[in-house]
Subunit: 419 residues, 2 copies
């Protein structure tokens, strides 16, 4: 076996052993460790910032995009926010041991469905170093062992964060190998990790198209994809156009670099003439670059013509694709075809139209008269999230502590046998 | 593209379109169709039996094992039971549209978590032709389109069942392509099916080691494995030996050919001398072939020596592996290492020992003082099951109608934007 294979198998076996220890920790032990790690991050701020400067300098030299460099950067405020995140996770209810269902069999058997940790989780992510602390905290609180694999552009930052977490966690009883980070930057590490069926229970890839497709093609371990957000807002003929304008501006401009930001605006032909000229000029004034088909261009000549790629693009930037459609049916077809099943909104007052959209749009979160920007574990009352699942199995949409557990059935009897 | 690729892609696309129609059907429409299909199976009994005779003759000629031939065989009683199964599914509550959670955001947004169908399900199974009717009924009731791929040894039976379902279903509104069966027996069909990420949402392979590993290695679509049951019963020093005897006999002998039957008996060294001679001689009188290590043989000389393979074997027959262990800790280690995470039982009166077993055995169903034979969707109050998941994600243990759905979040507002 080559060296990377050996190294990854070792991480997997260590994680498997650690997961059995983590699963048995009680809430107060876990919370004490999380609080210590939160304090540790603050205390180790300087070390982390020095490591981050290294990544930052390398990224500039490698001429990475400014969006990527921005996501990479840490500062006091971002470290404080990571630390606060861990402290908040300590405050959240323990998802392990929840009683999910109780059935009493007529023969007296008590059948209980109880939440338990998943086991070993592999988290594969890009650039943002805060994911290292967030994912570690959430996986640990939910009783899992985690193997982290961050982007190579953030490697010094990720290591500094991990070292801090381990130092302060271990001092108060963090089990050995509960949180591990893959050392090698080699791509082979990923292909080995996602095939460790005897050690790994779940792989969560969080990132762009290439990362997601590479992981799902290679994996034999179950995968929950946290894929891009190609989010739509459809403005129906029955829309209240004032609501529509403020929602559209919010969905595009309030934070364009996140996955719940709108990327495509669909407008009902019936109100295109009334809505588009004003709406698009306000967007343009907010520095949004507009791309659309010929029909939209009629209402806003500065608009650039879109290519086929624009309809499935996640810009994560002040760019918006615009399309005039033939009512709610074409809007639904467009969304189900080009979207990423993440977050899609309709602005309409007509209940029948709302209802059709709600039922037929096949996305994790479907909005009626509100901004797609609300798709977020915290806004959904989960306290925190490890990401947003664009898959349909196990977890869909924001994935919090409860979604990081599975369940088992405990059946208690006094000698029952089956007839 | 070659012919099989074209054919499978066509099935996938048809299923995708059908799934959108199925998802919108209301409960009464679905139940009417299920009842018609139940009646149809009875009416078409002769056609189905004739087709089954063909498979039966081919199987005998091909010298398949008697267990396989038994699973293949249909008769009036088995057809009646398939028909009754469909009628029962019609009576079960509709799992689609269940209200799973409601959150009111402080800004007035109403966030509802609602059960929806998964979409397109591919079911890959072996020999038993009744799975064709069972899986079709359960997937349809839960609003999914299904593509069935049965074993080639049952192909005439499966086709006759499918034809019957389609004839009687279509007459009362079964959507086109809601239920499809792969025609070609070529193995390539499976490798194409499990890579149709744009059309298929879930693959359920149900069968033995080879089927399961082939499917999970090739699949890029999410998989929920219904793998073998290597079920254990551990008899602790604190056991009530009368309970232990009757549970052991029931778990092994009441129906040895099913996945929840016991395959390995583990006995605490402390009570081995007291328990094993009688227990093993009763098992032997029930025609159970016993295999074990040297220590067990001391208590029952007729026992054959086991090989390493015996500890992970799913015999599905009157064969039992027997091992003396050093208390509950060795039992747990053995089960987590050799078992298939299906159903495992402890017989013990000591609460601390029960508790350790319950918490540390990593299986879908864990029994205390009862027979593993109860692992079954019907016994667990689900009404019916599509199989028993040995995976941890989405569904674990018996998988019924609710487990054949996912959810989406519907967020209703009146113009809310995110600050």
């Amino acid at each position: 076996m080559d060296q990377i294979k050996v190294e990854i198998l070792k991480l997997g076996k260590q994680a498997k052993v650690a997961s059995q220890v983590c699963a048995q920790l009680d809430s107060s032990q876990k919370n004490k460790i999380l609080q210590a790690m939160a304090k540790g991050l603050q205390a180790d701020q300087n070390d982390i910032l020095i490591a981050n400067q290294l990544d930052f300098a390398n990224a500039k030299e490698a001429k990475l995009s400014s969006a990527l460099i921005d996501r990479l950067e840490l500062n006091s405020a971002r470290i404080a926010s990571m630390s606060e995140g861990l402290a908040q996770v300590a405050e959240l209810p323990d998802p392990v041991g929840r009683n999910l269902k109780n059935i009493k069999h007529q023969n007296g058997l008590l059948i209980d469905k109880v939440a338990v940790p998943i086991g070993v989780i592999v988290m594969i992510y890009e650039s943002r170093p805060n994911v290292t602390a967030d994912a570690a905290g959430l996986c640990f609180k939910s009783g899992n062992a985690v193997i982290l694999r961050g982007g190579k552009e953030a490697k010094h930052s990720n290591f500094a964060i991990l070292e801090s977490l381990l130092r302060s966690g271990t001092a108060v009883g963090l089990p050995e190998h509960a949180i591990q980070l893959v050392e090698t930057g080699d791509h082979q590490a990923v292909s080995e990790l996602v095939k460790l069926n005897n050690c790994v229970d779940l792989v969560i890839p969080r990132g762009g198209e290439k990362l997601i497709s590479t992981v799902s093609e290679m994996a034999t371990v179950p995968v929950i994809k946290h894929y891009k957000g190609v989010c739509h807002t459809y403005v129906d003929a029955s829309a209240d156009l004032e609501k529509a304008s403020s929602i559209v501006i919010n969905a595009k401009c309030s934070k364009p670099g996140v996955c719940n930001a709108m990327e495509t605006l669909l407008v009902d032909r019936v109100i295109a003439e009334k809505f588009l000229p004003t709406a698009l000029s306000v967007l343009a004034k907010n520095n949004v670059e507009l791309r659309g088909e010929a029909e939209s261009k009629k209402y806003f000549p500065e608009l650039k013509l879109a290519t086929e790629e624009d309809w499935s693009a996640e810009y994560l930037d002040l760019i918006l694709a615009v399309k005039v459609v033939d009512g709610v049916d074409e809007a639904i077809t467009h969304i189900n075809h080009y979207g990423s099943h993440h977050s899609d909104a309709i602005i309409a007052e007509d209940k029948a139209v709302q209802d059709k959209f709600r039922k037929q749009v096949d996305s994790a979160t479907v909005y009626i008269n509100a901004s797609t920007r609300f798709t977020d574990g915290f806004e959904f009352g989960m306290g925190a999230e490890i990401g947003i699942s664009t898959d349909k199995l196990h977890a869909r949409g924001p994935m919090g502590l409860e979604e990081l557990t599975t369940y088992k059935y405990i059946i208690e009897g006094n000698g029952q046998v089956r007839k």
